[in-house]
């Protein structure tokens, strides 16, 4: 757990807040006066994980910067559902340019602020996995390499949801999308493809890289806050389940994110200057089945009967993560 454990039984370290906690021990989200950077009236699907992740991250960033924040947004679901004329759901200074250029646009914003001698306002760039690992990877890598003072946040829902759930470079193996084989001997995405951006980011040896999910709010907020203590390029990769694209119940969005971490399929960790420093330990380990079963994009792995070969393969990936990222307490 990269967030310091609160010595308070009941729900101290895990729930959003609690009447018994000191304000500074509660998450930003428990504050009735939180920014609501992404406020009501947006057009995201019921139970949208990305809407949640964006508000969590930006509200935390707003607190960390004393509201001195500018956000740059890549094209994608988040942008489309938040700013259809004539209504905007953002309550921060916000700019949308294109699908593949958010990191570069953010570089421009940061450069302008530097040129104007504004050293207080901070810059966040955000996009989905398509904008991040595929079309915008060049721009992102350039921003990393220049070490521009930008926090880039990827809301990873593992496919192109805005256009109707097509495969992205972040689509996990065996997952079904509109453009991965949906029938036949081996439905779902191929094994051995895709990009794991956190490690690509680490390879740039930028000051700070972290992963998080919408299932562990305190951890997510702590990471945004920590990211803001660094200058230079920072990268935060947040898993945000998509009920539409994953074929899950709208009420299970957070639960699924939690299972992704507790199964080991989505390692949650922090890296500084390219080296991993901490990882969130698994509290209640579950088999990958628990995670997969809730999503119809994996339905083919369970009917007509459990596809042992594929599921075991996925389990091996989870186990490898657990070893590689030290996800279990000794």
């Amino acid at each position: 757990m990269s967030v310091t454990q609160i010595k308070f039984y009941q729900v101290g370290s895990f729930a959003v807040g609690n009447r018994l906690l000191r304000d500074d021990e509660r998450s930003v989200q428990s504050d009735p006066d939180r920014t609501n950077a992404l406020t009501s009236g947006h057009r995201a699907c019921q139970g949208c994980g990305e809407a949640l992740g964006a508000r969590y991250a930006l509200d935390a960033a707003m607190r960390a910067t004393g509201d001195q924040l500018i956000a740059v947004n890549a094209t994608g679901c988040l942008e489309v559902f938040s700013t259809p004329y004539p209504e905007s759901s953002w309550r921060v200074a916000w700019l949308h340019s294109l699908f593949g250029n958010a990191p570069a646009v953010a570089t421009g914003v940061a450069a302008a602020l530097r040129a104007k001698g504004n050293h207080t306002t901070r810059v966040v760039a955000q996009g989905g996995d398509g904008a991040t690992v595929d079309i915008g990877l060049g721009a992102l890598s350039g921003m990393f390499e220049r070490n521009d003072d930008v926090l880039y946040i990827c809301y990873d829902n593992e496919a192109y949801m805005n256009t109707g759930v097509q495969r992205s470079g972040a689509t996990p193996p065996a997952a079904r999308t509109a453009t991965t084989q949906s029938v036949g001997d081996h439905p779902g995405n191929l094994f051995g493809q895709g990009k794991y951006l956190p490690k690509i980011a680490m390879a740039h040896e930028i000051p700070y890289v972290a992963t998080a999910t919408i299932a562990d709010l305190r951890d997510l907020e702590a990471k945004v806050e920590r990211a803001m203590t660094y200058h230079g390029a920072r990268y935060l990769h947040i898993l945000v389940p998509c009920p539409l694209g994953w074929g899950s119940a709208s009420c299970d969005t957070i639960k699924i994110a939690r299972l992704a971490t507790q199964s080991g399929l989505f390692p949650v960790f922090e890296a500084v200057n390219g080296e991993m420093i901490t990882s969130s330990k698994i509290r209640k380990k579950v088999a990958v089945d628990e995670y997969l079963k809730l999503q119809s994009r994996y339905a083919h792995l369970f009917s007509p009967q459990r596809n042992n070969e594929v599921i075991d393969h996925l389990q091996r990936i989870a186990d490898r993560n657990i070893a590689r990222y030290e996800l279990m307490e000794e």
Binding site: V72, Y85, A93, W94, A104, V105, A111, A115
Partner: protein, 396 residues
């Protein structure tokens, strides 16, 4: 101060005098000397409070410019050829958001086949992107146009492309009078953005606009462009008042008074044409010249007026629309509708082919003698293409 300098250096100094706050660029010939010059000025402190960003592509260059401009910084970049195409998506976005970025296009051909030499096919390919396009006749004008461009861009909230012929101008050493920063400051007030990313007064820039409003957005962009016709003139006049020379503006006529034939051209070839026109005049031909500075917006009225009274207009173009012909020609034809003027198109200088006085002269003499096709490619190797055509058609 008047100096014998390379065109790129002159432009770099002129841009620096405008005190841009963010400069970003990706190297591509023949634009490189300009940004190298600027990078030197930033490094040696001549240009202060300016961020010079080395980006990883032209697409990023324009994107950085978008971010910087939206944050209220005066922003500059430069590119050419393939680079311009690579940034095309962002180019439309910059104008769509109304960001007053100024960009130099060191005009160069577009491949394939790859070709690094000069023509206008790069900037012409961005004809409809919503940017102003101003073409420089020589390095003095190239330098001046950048200073004027910032005034126009920032007052109209439209980005501006200053087009100068690659190598022919960028690499040519000639004398240029480069205004000092102080002089420019008198002419160009600090940038006051219409919209800006400000945490104190936040807005959401770049909304998704649907069918119910998209037409209106585009109509307004069009009108802004039309309004900038007057602005370009106004700024050129102000510039002349302060610096005592007439550069920029919509177009400039040369010996068109009573001329039967008028050549209309853009860019550095205008200089060569002036010599040709002088020669032909001595030989008793009635011929004049119109140098078009502003291609976008296209000054229909000004062009019409400039051509009034002539019998023939010959449009010399360094690019063309495959399968159609002249690009500028289409606009000129509209401008002269009803005047009963004959319009001929001369495609010249493609991919850096030298446009020689001799070739121009012989073409113009034939043209004035009605001996040319409506569309002519100057110095075309007829033998070669005829041979190749036969081969090709055999295969079709």
């Amino acid at each position: 101060m008047l100096r014998q300098v390379e065109g790129s250096k002159a432009v770099a100094d002129a841009v620096a005098a405008c005190k841009p706050e963010v400069i970003c660029a990706y190297p591509i010939s023949p634009q490189t000397h300009i940004v190298e010059g600027l990078s030197k000025l930033v490094k040696d402190g001549t240009l202060q409070h300016c961020e010079f960003i080395n980006v990883e592509s032209e697409f990023a260059a324009m994107s950085v410019a978008i971010g910087a401009s939206a944050t209220g910084a005066r922003t500059y970049t430069a590119t050419a050829s393939q680079g311009l195409l690579f940034m095309a998506e962002a180019i439309y976005n910059a104008s769509g958001l109304g960001l007053p970025i100024v960009m130099t296009v060191a005009n160069r051909a577009i491949g394939g086949p790859i070709n690094i030499w000069n023509d206008h096919s790069d900037s012409m390919s961005q004809r409809d992107c919503g940017w102003l396009q101003l073409y420089a006749e020589n390095n003095q004008e190239a330098a001046d146009l950048h200073i004027q461009a910032y005034r126009i861009a920032e007052e109209m909230s439209i980005p501006v492309m200053v087009c100068m012929d690659g190598f022919i101008l960028t690499h040519a050493y000639e004398q240029v009078d480069i205004p000092t920063t102080e002089e420019v400051s008198e002419f160009l007030p600090p940038f006051k953005p219409r919209q800006v990313l400000d945490p104190m007064d936040p807005v959401s820039i770049g909304a998704m606009v649907g069918p119910e409003s998209f037409t209106e957005v585009k109509y307004l962009a069009h009108q802004r462009m039309i309004d900038s016709i007057a602005k370009i003139e106004e700024v050129a006049d102000d510039f002349e008042k302060q610096f005592g020379r007439k550069t920029g503006g919509l177009l400039r006529s040369y010996r068109t008074e009573g001329a039967e034939t008028i050549v209309l051209a853009l860019g550095s070839v205008i200089g060569t044409l002036k010599d040709v026109v002088d020669e032909l005049d001595l030989d008793g031909y009635s011929i004049g010249l119109v140098g078009l500075t502003s291609f976008r917006p296209f000054p229909f009225e000004a062009v019409r007026t400039a051509l009034l009274g002539a019998k023939r207009v010959i449009i010399l173009e360094k690019a063309f629309s495959t399968g159609t012909g002249g690009i500028v020609t289409q606009d000129v034809a509209r401008a002269i509708e009803g005047l009963g003027l004959e319009d001929l198109t001369l495609i010249a200088g493609l991919g850096g082919r030298p446009i020689t006085i001799a070739s121009l002269r012989s073409y113009l003499v034939e043209a004035m003698d009605d001996q040319v096709e409506r569309l002519t490619f100057l110095d075309l190797e007829t033998e070669t293409v005829t041979r190749e055509l036969v081969k090709e058609r055999a295969l079709q």
